[in-house]
Structure formats: structure tokens, C-alpha cells
């Protein structure tokens, strides 16, 4: 197993931090990705998912796109990350998702969400959320719609017009 040198490891962490700051830039309301340490969780999870042996390749790919993007303008940083997204969409998507997860599981970000008036908990399973009980009087449907065919009433339907064997649907799903 080939481990990156300490210097290379540090540079990889810097590259992920730089990427996190482009993906999740800070503003007046929200901290940046790197400010909450997204890069550390992303690196740890990358190792867990892909293995230490892949770190050198990761560093090489990030480096090929100019990361870490030190001393560059916002526009140049955005251009570099856009190129990364286009050239290696699978790896970029994985890092994007990992960065998003890490960002929103940070306690300070969770506190910011809650402070905006949306009840949101870092670990909601422990105490849950307060929801009003179902009100039988006001929330029971009164529309009266709906029917079912009882067992004794099931009748043959005429499927001759469907032509399931001869009329083939080639455009289906989102391509319909």
C-alpha cells in the first residue's frame, strides 16, 4: 500500500477544502464548506468508500484541475470546478454529495437552519418533532370518493384492443 507523504496528504486536504469553498461558499448567513471542516469528513469517507490506495489518484485528478485553487479569483475558481464537473462527473458527483452531507450534519449549520424558524434537529430520533395529533373531527376525509371491486363482482375485461404483443412502446419513462 502506498501512502501519500505527509505533505501530499496536507495538499489533498487543502484541495478538498478549496473545492468545498467553491461548492459551498460562505456569505452573510451561511459559513463556507471549509469553515465547518467539510474537507475532513469528505476525506475520511472517501477512504472508507474507496480505500487508501486511491488517494494518490484522487490527488492527481484534483491537481489536474488546479486544486487547491490558491490565490485565484472567484471566476477562475468557478471555471476550474466547472471543468472538473464536466471532465469527471462521477467523481465530482461523489465529492459534491459527500460535501453536502458533511456540511448539513455540522452542528453550527443545523443551528442556523433551526434559527430560520424551521424546526430541525441534528439527531431528531432522540426527541422527535412536535406534531399535532390527527384530529378525527376535522381531518377525516369527507369526500366520499373511492370504490373497489368486490371478489364476487370481478368480471372479465376486453383486452383485445390493447395489442400488448404488437404495439410496442419505445418512448417510456421520462423519454415518453
Amino acid at each position: 500500500m502506498t501512502h501519500p507523504s505527509p505533505a501530499a496528504q496536507m495538499r489533498l486536504t487543502q484541495a478538498l477544502a478549496s473545492l468545498a469553498d467553491v461548492l459551498l461558499p460562505g456569505n452573510d448567513a451561511w459559513p463556507s464548506g471549509a469553515a465547518v471542516g467539510v474537507q475532513h469528513a469528505v476525506l475520511r469517507r472517501y477512504i472508507e468508500a474507496k480505500g487508501e490506495d486511491t488517494l494518490a489518484q484522487l490527488a492527481e485528478t484534483l491537481g489536474a484541475h488546479g486544486l487547491p485553487l490558491l490565490d485565484q479569483s472567484d471566476a477562475a475558481r468557478t471555471d476550474a470546478v466547472s471543468a472538473f464537473e464536466s471532465n469527471d462527473p462521477d467523481l465530482f458527483g461523489w465529492l459534491q454529495d459527500a460535501s453536502y452531507f458533511a456540511y448539513y450534519e455540522d452542528a453550527s449549520v443545523v443551528a442556523l437552519i433551526a434559527a430560520r424558524g424551521t424546526p430541525y434537529s441534528l439527531r431528531p430520533h432522540i426527541k422527535g418533532y412536535d406534531l399535532p395529533k390527527f384530529d378525527l373531527e376535522t381531518q377525516t376525509p369527507t369526500h366520499g370518493r373511492g370504490h373497489y371491486i368486490a371478489t364476487k363482482d370481478v368480471r372479465p375485461v376486453d383486452i383485445s384492443g390493447l395489442e400488448l404483443d404488437t404495439r410496442i412502446t419505445t418512448k417510456w419513462g421520462l423519454q415518453r
Binding site: V22, L23, L24, P25, N27, A41, R45, A49, T78, V81, Q96, D97, Y100, F101, A102, Y104, E105, V109, I113, R116, T118, P119, L122, R123, P124, H125, G128, Y129, D130, L131, K133, F134, D135, L136, Q139, T140, P141, H143, R145, G146, H147, Y148, I149, A150, T151, V154, R155, P156, V157, I159, L162, L164, R167, I168, T169, W172, G173, L174, Q175, R176
Partner: protein
């Protein structure tokens, strides 16, 4: 080397929902019951629900797809299309499921009469209804009585779960369309029941270590164990053995702790290993397949989905994951251009902000860069999810089968799985997607995203929670694997009690039906045990 030889009244393979029910019923009847489970117990503290990184974990190490996680209790399943959602351990897939709890409808049992493209079931809704009700009482199902789109039934043991803002918003949309809707039934208790705490609305509804959702490891297994059933974990069954009279004599299994092979004999063998594991085991054992139907007619349901965002906050990260059903399109109407129907399972949303930004449900990721935070503020708390779930037609070529070259670490051929939707299914999907767009418009959504689960190459990679049909029940041994009591036509003291026996999928999540059938089969074994201990012939019931 075979280390032990033992004989029991009943041997159950698999400790999921159906294995648990059978163990309970048969042990309570005083029978000597052993259940072999290849996985282990999951203690409450082992679940990730109380971790701060639960959102990531449920997409990685706790991913329901066996091929998206790396867990030593799993076995290899090589699928060329569908994702393979299951959990191997005490309680089975109920450790990670969502416990949406609708019933089949009467016509689901009579598709042979209706159009002939599927078989009739050898039993009717009326045969099964009492067992649905008893399972509901065992588990504490929640829901609202009186749905005009379903046969009358007794009230659920616990009342409906909170009617969330997302449900309220959708109900108005369905009203606008003039379509049926009804609050969802759930395998989740809305109030304390049988020593378990009522749901606290946390929204993390893939398994539930607090026990509000019925995990069979918490709701049923304690009763089975108290009745004297023995549950042996880390016990992977490698083959079922039969004698010269055609009866099952027992199984050979591997003790995954010691590595030893052991043999346990039994008078009755019950297979409860799910729609993939059961056909794999039968095929690997070379038994039960005189019909050629073992592994064939794999059904998943015809599934598409949508996510919509509305201006009014609905806080869909709070509350039980399913809010209501619409059964508007559940029955066949050939004027739509296909047979069979579908339901809408209306959801809340993801409980995880990270999960939503990473593309929950429809793959709609939040943008990166300067627009990210604006997107988040506009979308989080405003999201609602929906599934349309339809009755797919059986196709013998959709199947689970054995790899002819690759074996697992124990020398058993690995399971392979193939599934693709047929013509009727594709037409139904198109219709369902159009209706999902109707719902989005009626709800006043400012954005709607659809998913057809097709990848960039067009392959339908459905998240296949529902793996059914691969050991179908029927009236005739030449066209089915088990009879109406779920008794093998070929091996008269072997019963299959998992979802593989369902001949059709209905338009609903199948666990309530699978559980009701398992209870029915268990009581048959209990009441016929003396005869089953000796019989060498399976009768058409």
C-alpha cells in the same frame, strides 16, 4: 465436516417478518422450533438513528441495497438492473424498511378472471382478511377506518398518525382533481402499544430502533423466544436435504462464528429467506422445482416517483414518511391503454437536509456555488415526495437464477437477478408520470421533478424493495411452486412463507400481505403438524 446431528419439530430458515411469525405461532403451540439466521441481532445502539451523521450512514453502511454497502452478513446478488434492497439479520428487512401498511384489494386476487395475463390466487381477499386483522393487532398498526376504496374492516389498533402539512397540501390537490385520497395505514404505532412507545415524528423511517415502527426483532421475536423458540444467529443454511420419500430431512448450515458445518434435521422445514434467498436456496438444493417456476416471474412493482416543491412551508422532514394513499387508479380501466392499476403513495420528504441537497428521491441536486444557499432556503422545508406504485405483469424471464460459474465463500452458486418492465408496465409508467404532473400542477408546485429510475443507458434500476413472485403459489403443481397453504408441491413437509409465494404484486407495499399469509400458513402447520410429520404427498387444498 458435519459437526452435529440434531432433530427438531420445525426448522425455520430466516428470521425476518415471516420467520418471526412462524416461530411465534409454532412455539406457542408447544412445538420444538429452531430458526437459523445467517445474520445477527442488531442492538438498538447499533442503529445509526442517534448519530449526527445518520443521513450519510443510511446511504452508505446502512444502505438497504446489498450491493451499495459492505456487510459481512450479506450474500452476493448479481443484478443486471434492479437494486437489491434487503437486510440479513434478526428481523430481516424490517430493520431498514418503511412499514407502509396498505392491504391488497379483492380484485388483486382475481386477475386471472379479470384479464388472464396473471393467474388467480388460490385464495381470496376474504380468506386473508382475518389474518390481516390479527397481524394488525399483533403489531399495533395505525390508520383511519372507513376508506370507501377498500372493503370494510375493523379499526386499526392505533389511530392515524399526524396529518402533516405535506399531507394537507396534497389532500387539497387531490380534492381539486376529484381523486380519492386517504390517510396512510402504517406499521407504526401512533400511541404507546404493547410496551413500545408511540411514534415521535422524527422522520427517520428506515427501521426504527425505538420500536415505534414495527421491527419484527422487537415486536414479534421477543414473544417467540418467550414461547421457547430457539433462534440461532450467524447460521447460514447451505442446502436443504431430502430423503428417498421426497420429504425434507433437514438442512446443512454453516456456523459463521466457528466455521463448522452442521446438520439439523426437522419434521417440517419452513423457508423464509425472501424472494431472492429462497429461490437461490431451492435451486442450489435441487428441490421443489418440478414446475420450473422457482426463481421465475420476479415482480418488483411498476414504480415511478416525483418530488415537488411548494411555496408554503410544509416541513416535510418531520413526521412519518408516508402521509396518505390515493387509490383513484387502483382498478383496471383498459381505456387507459393497459391492464391493472396503481396507487399513489404520498410521502412527506427526507428528514435530512444533506440528503435533500444531494438529490433525494428524484436525483435533483442543489446547485453548487453562489446559488446554493438561495436554493436551500427556497427548497428545504418545501419538498413533498410521491411514488406511483403499480401492478407489474409477470414474465418468466424476469427471474432469480444461479450463476453457473461463480460461487460464494461457502461454495454455493451466487444469485443472479434479471428484471425489465414489459409493454404493459411501460404504458402504465407513462400514464403514472403524467398523473404525477397533474398532482404537481394541482398542488401549485413551483417545481416538480420526476424519476423513472432509468439510468443513463436506459436500464430500469428500480429500488426493488419488493422481491416477490419467485416461488408462486397456485392451484396446480405444473404452474406453481406451492399450494394455497404455501406447501411445496414437491416436498410435502416444506413450506415457503416469504414474499416469493405472491403470484401478483397488487398496487401496494407487500409486507402486510406477506405477514398475513405467513400467519395463515403457520396456523396450518400448527393444526396439521401430526399429518405433516409423516405425509409424502401435497394435496391441492
Amino acid at each position: 465436516m458435519i459437526a452435529k446431528d440434531d432433530i427438531r419439530d420445525v426448522l425455520i430458515i430466516g428470521s425476518g417478518a415471516t420467520g418471526a411469525i412462524n416461530a411465534k405461532v409454532l412455539a406457542e403451540a408447544g412445538l420444538d422450533v429452531i430458526c437459523l439466521e445467517q445474520g445477527g441481532w442488531i442492538e438498538r445502539k447499533e442503529f445509526v438513528h442517534t448519530h449526527s451523521d445518520w443521513g450519510w450512514e443510511r446511504n452508505s453502511s446502512w444502505n438497504p441495497d446489498v450491493n451499495a454497502r459492505s456487510h459481512p452478513d450479506d450474500y452476493p446478488v448479481d443484478s443486471d438492473a434492479s437494486k437489491v434492497l434487503m437486510w440479513n439479520g434478526v428481523g430481516g428487512s424490517t430493520n431498514v424498511y418503511g412499514a407502509i401498511w396498505p392491504r391488497y384489494r379483492p380484485s388483486d386476487f382475481r386477475k386471472g378472471d379479470e384479464h388472464g395475463l396473471q393467474p388467480n390466487w388460490p385464495i381470496s381477499y376474504e380468506d386473508l382478511a382475518p389474518f390481516y386483522e390479527r397481524v394488525d393487532r399483533l403489531l399495533g398498526t395505525s390508520g383511519l377506518n372507513g376508506d370507501p376504496a377498500m372493503p370494510p374492516r375493523p379499526a386499526c389498533p392505533t389511530g392515524p398518525l399526524p396529518f402533516t402539512p405535506a399531507a394537507q397540501r396534497l389532500s387539497k390537490a387531490f380534492d381539486k382533481l376529484g381523486w380519492h385520497w386517504w390517510p396512510a395505514e402504517a406499521g407504526v404505532i401512533s400511541e404507546d402499544y404493547d410496551g413500545r412507545p408511540g411514534c415521535n415524528g422524527c422522520g427517520l423511517c428506515n427501521g426504527c430502533p425505538r420500536g415505534s415502527m414495527t421491527l419484527y426483532s422487537q415486536s414479534v421475536w421477543p414473544k417467540a423466544l418467550a414461547a421457547g423458540a430457539e433462534l440461532k444467529t450467524h447460521a447460514r443454511v447451505l442446502r436443504i436435504e431430502t430423503g428417498p420419500d421426497g420429504r425434507a430431512t433437514g438442512v446443512v448450515w454453516k456456523n459463521r462464528i466457528t466455521g463448522a458445518l452442521e446438520r439439523t434435521r426437522a419434521r417440517v422445514v419452513i423457508v423464509a429467506a425472501n424472494g431472492v434467498g429462497t429461490p437461490r436456496l431451492l435451486l442450489a438444493s435441487g428441490i421443489g422445482n418440478s414446475s420450473g417456476m422457482v426463481g421465475r416471474n420476479l415482480l418488483h412493482h411498476t414504480l415511478v416517483g416525483a418530488q415537488m416543491w411548494v411555496d408554503e412551508p410544509v416541513n416535510g422532514h418531520m413526521g412519518y414518511v408516508a402521509s396518505m394513499f390515493s387509490r383513484q387508479f387502483a382498478e383496471t380501466d383498459v381505456s387507459r391503454g393497459f391492464v391493472n392499476g396503481f396507487n399513489f403513495n404520498c410521502l412527506t420528504s427526507t428528514p435530512s437536509a444533506g440528503e435533500m441537497t444531494a438529490g433525494w428521491h428524484t436525483g435533483t441536486r442543489a446547485p453548487w456555488g453562489k446559488g446554493h444557499h438561495d436554493w436551500f432556503e427556497r427548497h428545504f422545508g418545501h419538498s413533498i415526495g410521491l411514488f406511483a406504485i403499480g401492478d407489474d405483469l409477470p414474465n418468466p424471464e424476469n427471474r432469480v437464477f444461479l450463476d453457473d460459474k461463480v460461487v460464494d465463500e461457502d461454495g454455493v452458486p451466487i444469485a443472479r437477478m434479471h428484471y425489465e418492465p414489459g409493454e404493459n408496465d411501460r404504458r402504465m409508467m407513462n400514464y403514472m408520470l403524467d398523473r404525477l404532473e397533474d398532482i404537481g400542477a394541482a398542488a401549485g408546485a413551483y417545481e416538480i421533478a420526476l424519476t423513472d429510475y432509468r439510468d443513463k443507458d436506459g436500464i430500469y434500476r428500480t429500488p426493488a424493495w419488493h422481491m416477490i413472485g419467485t416461488c408462486r403459489m397456485g392451484d396446480a403443481p405444473e404452474a406453481s411452486v406451492v399450494n394455497s397453504w404455501q406447501q411445496s408441491w414437491d416436498v410435502p413437509n416444506m413450506f415457503i412463507v416469504d414474499g416469493s409465494v405472491l403470484p401478483t404484486g397488487g398496487v401496494v407495499n407487500p409486507t402486510p400481505t406477506i405477514s398475513a399469509m405467513a400467519l395463515r400458513a403457520a396456523e396450518y402447520v400448527r393444526d396439521s403438524f401430526a399429518e405433516l410429520s409423516a405425509t409424502t404427498r401435497t394435496e391441492a387444498a
